[in-house]
């Protein structure tokens, strides 16, 4: 495998990681901690929204993020021909 192709794969990988980790940060540290007070003024069902993100929502997003990552990476591995048999 050539150096350029390796680097192209790695660059795409880093971009995917940054995007997904940005979401990870925003739902937990953003919505659940830093913005918790303003979000608590919004009520969904019996939950104050900030509280919901801190104790429920962020966890659901975490699970989804990993499965999305798995899907994207499986595709990327094939595109760059670095997948396992």
């Amino acid at each position: 495998m050539t150096r350029e192709r390796r680097q192209a794969y790695w660059k795409r990988n880093l971009r995917i990681l940054l995007t997904l980790l940005a979401v990870w940060f925003v739902v937990s540290y953003g919505f659940g901690i830093i913005l918790v007070e303003p979000l608590n003024n919004i009520k969904v069902f019996g939950f104050k929204l900030g509280f919901w993100f801190a104790q429920q929502g962020s966890i659901y997003v975490f699970v989804a993020l990993i499965f999305i990552y798995v899907g994207i990476m499986n595709k990327l591995d094939r595109e760059h021909d670095v997948h396992e048999d």
Partner: protein
């Protein structure tokens, strides 16, 4: 059938199952013993990881903690789940591609240094022993409360079971037992939660009942709790009392610590392929999330039930003579205490002088089925679930200790010439010795067990995570950088925790803390320091040798991961 008969039956059945699995999955090679031959399916590994991860503390104590902390409990909920995102995206696939057995293996090879390897071995052993002591204690407590066996005998029975499948089966035995233990523990956690959710709110799913209105009223459960908490002098349930920076740092330290815990990372060495390691982390977090999204609901239900029972529907205090039987049962264990300060024969729970109750947080899960008047078999199920949670975590930790000693220390440093057979024997011996030490720690718990949990996460966050992360993502990171970074991270974090927890506990409050960060959250700062030092020192000294740079390039692409041995 009585509660006790049910408990003996369910606990006995679950133990027989674990032993049966252990006999079926004996380890023949060191590869079986350390990483289950690398042939575990991602789904099974996800379940095993979930059981490995969810300890006696997650099962027994967490909901109770949240119940008393309200919003602040989010540090545990996010901290102990968010780390899996870091693990899946930043560490697991690359470590699987690297394809060896342990964390010190990776750190020692990547930084071409036995010093780095030794620092990693010492951290791995320390973190694991800290953690395992609490598990054995949990086993003893469940035995003594539900089966009325003395705590010490309970610990010995627990030791015997773990000894059997950890020493015989190694990782292979542990993995398949953990799959069974996950099923037992999640069933045991969900059944009472679902019952209580239906009773209180009419919703089947606790995650929905959590945000629903109380049955027969128009008031949301959480609004009612906010009201009750404020009336009784506590902070509103959905507000909490910790400062924002402390919540931020504790959450971060727990997340990064989780991603750096050796017994969790090593589970991703057991799957056949890189893509399985990614998927497996997803399954693991899904299985963990089932319990972790239920726990805050259980916490809220339990707090509401508790206040209503003790203070009575009118909020004036319920007559002790008419108290439900669970209050009296749990009084015997010392987990609930009532002191009739004003002599009116009524119980009263509040913040401040009017309070007459002392309530241990563990009761929120252990007594939950009784509080909600659930049938005897549900109560017995909670005992079996608590044991499954404690035993599965203990076994995973013991394996880390045994492989750190037999593989990282003996084979890699002290006597490199031993054969595989001898290494396997040493691994079994080390596991056996570790079980005995863990048991002794459970029987004679050092007074500081609860204090050192912050240590386990702080150390994992400030030592392992940056070293592994930079080992993969920064080709320039070298021996000098990693060793100095780990040492700075550990020394800073450890001194901060030791100062506030042991040397000067009186000063342990927000006024004296650095930037208002508690010892629980300081691992995050330790991690940042480690990152800065490793990066700076690496870039000021010579780059790592050619073959190490090739190694890093190689682990960055999935193709060519070592084939798994068959089962």
């Amino acid at each position: 059938m009585s509660v006790q008969a049910w408990t003996y039956l369910l606990v006995g059945l679950s133990f027989a199952l674990y032993i049966g699995i252990a006999i079926w999955s004996r380890a023949a090679h060191t590869r079986d013993f350390y990483v289950a031959g690398g042939g575990v399916s991602p789904l099974a590994n996800g379940m095993a990881t979930a059981a490995d991860w969810m300890s006696a503390a997650s099962f027994i104590s967490m909901a109770g903690l949240i119940s008393f902390m309200g919003y602040d409990g989010a540090v545990y909920l996010m901290g102990w789940t968010g780390g899996y995102v870091l693990l899946a995206l930043l560490l697991a696939p690359y470590l699987r591609k690297f394809g060896k057995f342990t964390i010190p293996d990776f750190i020692g090879d990547r930084y071409y240094s036995d010093t780095a390897r030794l620092v990693a071995v010492v951290c791995a052993i320390f973190v694991s022993f800290t953690y395992v002591a609490g598990q054995m204690r949990g086993v003893g407590i469940v035995f003594s409360r539900f089966l009325e066996v003395p705590i010490n005998l309970g610990v010995i029975i627990g030791m015997a079971i773990v000894f059997f499948y950890a020493v015989l089966g190694g990782m292979k035995g542990i993995t398949y037992t953990q799959v069974a233990q996950y099923c037992v523990l999640i069933f045991a956690y969900m059944v009472p939660a679902i019952f209580i959710s239906i009773l209180l709110t009419g919703h089947f799913l606790p995650q929905l009942g959590f945000g629903a209105d109380l049955k027969g009223t128009e008031t949301f459960l959480l609004d009612r709790l906010d009201g009750l908490n404020t009336e009784l002098g506590f902070a509103a349930y959905t507000d909490g009392t910790k400062s924002m920076i402390d919540v931020f740092c504790i959450t971060a330290a727990l997340m990064v610590g989780t991603a750096g815990l050796p017994h969790v990372i090593v589970r991703f060495f057991t799957v056949p392929k890189v893509r399985d390691a990614r998927k497996s982390a997803g399954w693991a977090l899904l299985f963990i999330a089932i319990l972790y999204t239920t726990a805050p609901a259980v916490a809220a239900f339990a707090r509401y039930n508790m206040i209503e029972t003790i203070n009575g529907a009118d909020g004036q205090g319920a007559l002790y003579s008419e108290a439900p039987s669970w209050i009296k049962t749990w009084e015997k264990t010392g987990l609930i205490k009532w002191e009739d300060k004003n002599g009116d024969g009524r119980m009263y729970y509040a913040k401040g002088d009017a309070n007459e109750m002392t309530i241990d947080r563990d009761i929120m899960v252990l007594a939950n089925p009784e509080i909600a008047n659930l049938p005897a078999w549900v109560i017995a199920l909670v005992a079996a679930g608590g044991l499954a949670a404690a035993l599965s975590t203990a076994a995973g930790l013991l394996l880390v200790i045994s492989s750190a000693i037999a593989h990282d220390l003996l084979k890699k440093v002290v006597m490199p010439n031993i054969t595989e057979k001898q290494e396997l024997l040493f691994a079994r011996l080390a596991a056996a010795v570790a079980v005995v030490i863990a048991g002794l720690l459970g029987i004679y718990p050092p007074a500081f067990v609860a204090q050192v949990v912050a240590f386990a996460f702080g150390l994992a966050a400030s030592s392992f995570f940056p070293a592994i992360f930079l080992g993969i993502f920064d080709k320039r990171a070298n021996k000098q950088g990693a060793v100095s970074g780990m040492i700075v991270g550990i020394v800073f974090t450890a001194s901060y925790i030791i100062y506030f927890k042991f040397i000067n506990p009186g000063a342990n409050n927000a006024e004296n803390w650095l930037w208002g960060i508690s010892p629980e959250g300081i691992g995050f700062i330790g991690m940042l320091l480690n990152f800065i030092v490793t990066y700076a020192v690496s870039h000021l000294t010579a780059p790592p040798p050619e073959h190490i740079q090739h190694l890093v390039e190689d682990i960055r692409v999935p193709r060519g991961a070592g084939a798994a041995t068959h089962h």
